[in-house]
């Protein structure tokens, strides 16, 4: 399994994501201005502040040359993981439903969060079991997941909620405690928590590894579709 991690101007967690992915496969960085995905098997849109988060989080990055290829890759069922800022980019790019709004507290929050796995059919939770508890840190100012009520109902009906904050853990006022969602096919996943920062007991927890490992299970994508 070869992971490609996109580097935008202003990405911050791209190397962390690369190191984390390299624990379960190979991983390389992909430059935002280069539309060539260099034949990777999975794409990670990392956290950070692409283009400074100016104007609106993810709004400018989604137009980067590489994103067109990512959209194509995703439409063909390729596994794509958006983390934090990457989640925001995928929403802006229309690969995932909904949007992310400023935390109700209006402040940046960096803390370890307890999460519950909702679906185990997404490309990045296949190695987890439903209702399994994960401990993964969050760090963001704009992480409040929003979608119109009827869309939220559909997401739940279609089993598109990937992670929820455990009771009392919601750091941002996210709708229905949502911490991550996926597209219908389950190959495109967006998460506010940072699994790349939960892969080593020395620097925190290890729950994040499972998410990277998931995509390596079998021929990820099509199985999910």
């Amino acid at each position: 399994m070869r992971f490609g991690v996109i580097r935008f101007p202003g990405s911050c967690d791209e190397v962390d994501a690369q190191l984390a992915a390299a624990r379960v496969g190979e991983a390389q960085l992909l430059w935002h201005a280069d539309p060539d995905l260099h034949g990777v098997d999975a794409v990670i849109v990392p956290g950070g502040f692409s283009y400074g988060d100016y104007l609106r989080v993810g709004a400018i990055a989604r137009f980067a040359a590489v994103m067109e290829s990512v959209v194509g890759f995703a439409r063909q069922g390729g596994p794509v993981l958006g983390i934090c800022n990457g989640f925001q980019v995928l929403c802006e790019a229309g690969l995932l439903p909904g949007a992310l709004l400023p935390n109700v507290g209006l402040r940046f929050v960096c803390r370890q969060a307890e999460l519950e796995v909702v679906t185990d059919r997404s490309a990045f939770t296949r190695a987890c079991s439903r209702a399994e508890r994960l401990s993964i840190p969050v760090k963001h100012t704009t992480g409040r997941y929003y979608a119109p009520e009827e869309t939220l109902d559909e997401l739940e009906a279609a089993d598109q909620i990937v992670l929820r904050y455990a009771p009392g853990q919601n750091p941002n006022g996210s709708a229905r405690e949502i911490a991550g969602v996926c597209n219908r096919e389950g190959n495109v996943v967006g998460l506010m928590p940072h699994p790349e920062h939960a892969v080593d007991p020395l620097t925190g927890s290890t729950s994040g590894l499972k998410l990277f490992a998931s995509v390596c299970e079998g021929d990820g994508v099509r199985a999910a579709a």
Binding site: P9, D16, G52, V109, G204
Partner: protein
């Protein structure tokens, strides 16, 4: 002096710009004529306190700066020490006090931006930031506003640029009410042989300015601001606020490191206070060359800027580098790839002249030496005040029962949990943080694995209790250094080097001069005794308003190394049944303590002299025990004394403790007395016994239950008057004061 020559702004303008009459006369002498507008503006900045260290340089020269591990000492943008395996660690602390008092969010943000640039200016990748903050008491709206905005600003910049903020400190004391302190420290890693200096060399080489465009930001800003007391003129100074752009800096950082990686640069220098003027002059001075700069080539944000404005602009996120002609194209290409503006603005010349041109025509010419090295240095006229300068803290009715006093202390502004602050900082990015805030006494950062060491690591701590220094500038400063040593010891780290920021009032006043010289003497003595070199720092003077000077506040940042991060001890009790011991023999004193503050007691006029040798022996015992994996926890006893230290261990581990003490000097002193050099450690009984045997100290109890119980005298006696029995939950409640106040 001769009447002002035609076209020369003259003495009066010079004085408005902060120069004294004799200084102006000296400038005229060195130029053999009166300076024109451009030259005067440049001199006024380079000869300001901020750039020239007029009142501190002589003192700073007394500090020990040598050591086997020192790679770069004071004089460069940051100091650096060898951390083995071919790696060097660069670090420095810097202040941004006055800009932050004017606009706390942008002031604090650009403060972080500035210290980051100092680190990557020498070719090191920034790996961590720490912040040291001082505000007036929490019950003041202004203090809460400044805290809220400054913390937001630091987070905004550090978080956006992908450098973790791994530690810091905040104190609330009345003397900072009108003059808050915002100090930021940055650490960076580099291959030893890749460190680059800022000396411009090679006449004919090209000077390239890259990063943000140049606007009127901070014109008459930091340098001038930082050299004059804030006062009524404040409002007038406001329009020169600089706006930080972390996105631009992120690109600048990656771009600079790539340029160095590819060996395309001869020299690199950040633009900080005094902008192009100071950077160019410093580079020329260090390389003993001259420079030609054409201001017409400088990319401007505002069309109609005067040459002097361009030369003194403090627009952020800019760097200056020297490039061999054949590499210029390559340099511009790398910058373009990072969407970073880059322009050749001049070249290195023979001789020692800094020539400012506009479209090729000279608009100013100054001898570099005069600008950089020949500003007069002043001797201080220290005078010990005959009484304590500072009024007693406006404390009041602290509970008299020990349990109540403990809860009051845990909830007091200086001791309550900093969680609402540090949760606004990304402490994780770069995947190096092995100990986060509130997990241990020092932040622990992983280094790359090396032969024979799988988890080598760095530890870093920043400390400086202004009120203690106000009690006794000499001993108080020694305490600040020892406090850092103690913090490092708790995670098993040995000190490598020290940086510092000296925040003081007006040095031209004898009592401030006395504080400053006592402080620097203490700093030097402590560092010599401990064999820890001072590799860099910063000085911020004139922190004073009509209400008087701030507490004298030396902020000490210390870095250390540990062989195995897996063994770095946390501060929290971690196992029911573990034995608890106090290592180190210090007689705790209530005078100048947090409890004394709570009770509004006057500051003493001196502090007991810490026994540096004894403290460093105790620290060594703790350090070795931690490294040997003999302990489950280690925490040093600091503000609030032993009772507070025990409470913190309970909270961090969510476990209770039963402790029995002898009441040598009275119960209160034993519980809440302060004095650096004691440690609370826990671990398996036999191991802790051994450690006590080695270290001098005493087993005082055991980790147990969900209450903190502290009793005195023989086993048989039950909890009585003057003794403590508080639930861990209750301690946690009390500790949360700050969350109520900000977040």
């Amino acid at each position: 002096m001769a009447a002002t020559a035609p076209g020369a702004p003259g003495l009066e303008r010079a004085q408005l710009l902060g120069l004294t009459e004799p200084e102006y006369a000296l400038i005229v002498e060195k130029l053999a004529r009166e300076p024109n507008e451009v030259e005067l503006a440049m001199f006024s900045l380079m000869w300001s306190e901020h750039c020239a260290y007029k009142h501190s340089k002589k003192l700073l020269r007394t500090l020990p700066t040598e050591g086997p591990r020192v790679v770069m000492g004071p004089g460069e943008n940051a100091g650096a020490v060898d951390v083995g395996d071919g790696l060097a660690l660069a670090f420095k602390v810097e202040s941004h006090n006055h800009p932050s008092a004017v606009e706390p969010f942008q002031g604090a943000a650009t403060g972080v931006g500035g210290i980051l640039r100092d680190i990557f200016a020498i070719g090191a990748r920034p790996i961590a930031v720490l912040d040291s903050l001082r505000f007036g008491e929490l019950d003041s709206d202004r203090s809460r506003y400044l805290l809220d905005r400054a913390v937001a600003g630091i987070g905004h910049y550090g978080n956006s640029i992908g450098v973790p903020t791994v530690g810091g400190e905040v104190y609330f004391e009345a003397p900072y009410e009108q003059n808050c302190l915002i100090n930021a420290m940055c650490l960076g890693l580099a291959d030893r042989e890749r460190l680059i200096r800022s000396a411009a060399t090679g006449p004919g080489n090209v000077l390239v300015l890259f990063g943000a465009s140049t606007g009127r930001d901070g014109i008459g800003g930091a340098s001038v601001l930082a050299s004059a007391e804030l006062g009524v003129g404040d409002e007038a100074k406001r329009p020169s606020v600089q706006i930080g752009d972390p996105f631009e800096e992120k690109k600048l950082l990656e771009c600079s490191l790539e340029l160095l990686e590819r060996g395309l640069l001869v020299a690199l220098q950040d633009l900080g206070a005094a902008g192009l003027t100071s950077s160019a002059a410093e580079m020329a001075s260090k390389g003993e060359v001259g420079l030609d700069i054409d201001v017409a080539r400088v990319p401007l944000r505002e069309a109609d800027m005067e040459p002097f404005e361009i030369m003194v602009s403090e627009s952020q996120e800019r760097m200056l580098c020297v490039v061999e002609p054949e590499h210029v194209t390559a340099v511009l290409e790398v910058c373009a790839r990072w969407e970073t503006r880059a322009t050749a603005i001049g070249e290195v010349t023979e001789g020692g002249a800094l020539r400012i041109l506009r479209d090729g025509g000279p608009v100013g010419q100054l001898p570099v030496a005069a600008l950089v090295d020949e500003c007069p240095l002043y001797d201080l006229t220290p005078e010990r005040p005959d009484a304590q300068l500072y009024p007693a803290p406006s404390g009041g009715s602290a509970p008299t029962d020990a349990g109540g006093a403990l809860l009051a202390l845990m909830g007091s502004s200086n001791l309550s949990s900093r969680r609402p602050v540090f949760e606004q900082y990304d402490c994780l990015v770069q995947s190096r943080t092995a100990r986060r805030p509130e997990q241990a006494d020092a932040a622990v950062l992983l280094l790359p694995a090396r032969p024979g060491q799988e988890h080598p690591a760095l530890a870093v701590s920043i400390d400086g209790n202004g009120r203690r220094v106000a009690c006794d500038p000499y001993q108080g400063t020694i305490e600040a250094v020892l406090e850092c040593v103690a913090n490092l010891a708790c995670v098993g780290a040995e000190p490598l080097g020290l940086t510092n920021c000296l925040n003081f009032g007006n040095p031209e006043k004898p009592h401030v001069a006395w504080q400053l010289s006592q402080c620097v003497r203490g700093l030097g003595d402590a560092c010599r005794a401990l064999g820890v070199p001072v590799v860099g720092g910063n000085v911020s003077l004139y922190n004073e308003t009509a209400d008087g000077p701030i507490y004298p506040t030396p902020v000490v940042g210390m870095v250390g190394e540990l062989p195995d991060a897996l063994r770095a001890a946390g501060l929290g009790f971690s196992r029911e049944g573990d034995a608890i011991a106090v290592i180190g023999s210090v007689t705790p004193q209530l005078a100048g303590s947090e409890l004394a503050k709570l009770r509004g007691e006057a500051l003493p006029e001196q502090l007991p002299a810490p026994d540096i040798a004894a403290v460093s022996r105790a620290a060594a015992v703790v350090r070795e025990a931690v490294r040997a994996g003999e302990l489950s926890s280690a925490h040093d006893v600091a503000e609030g004394g032993l009772a507070v230290a025990l409470a913190e261990c309970c909270l961090a581990g969510q476990l209770g403790a039963r402790v029995r003490l002898e009441a040598a000097d009275g119960l209160e002193a034993a519980l809440f007395g302060e004095g650096v050099g004691r440690f609370v450690v826990s671990g398996p009984c036999d191991r802790v016994q051994e450690v006590v045997g080695r270290g001098g100290g005493k087993v005082v109890g055991r980790v147990q239950g969900d209450h903190l119980q502290i009793t005195f005298g023989p086993e048989t006696k039950a909890t009585a008057e003057g003794e403590i029995d508080v639930g861990v939950g209750e301690l946690g409640q009390a500790h949360r004061t700050l969350s109520g106040t900000i977040a």
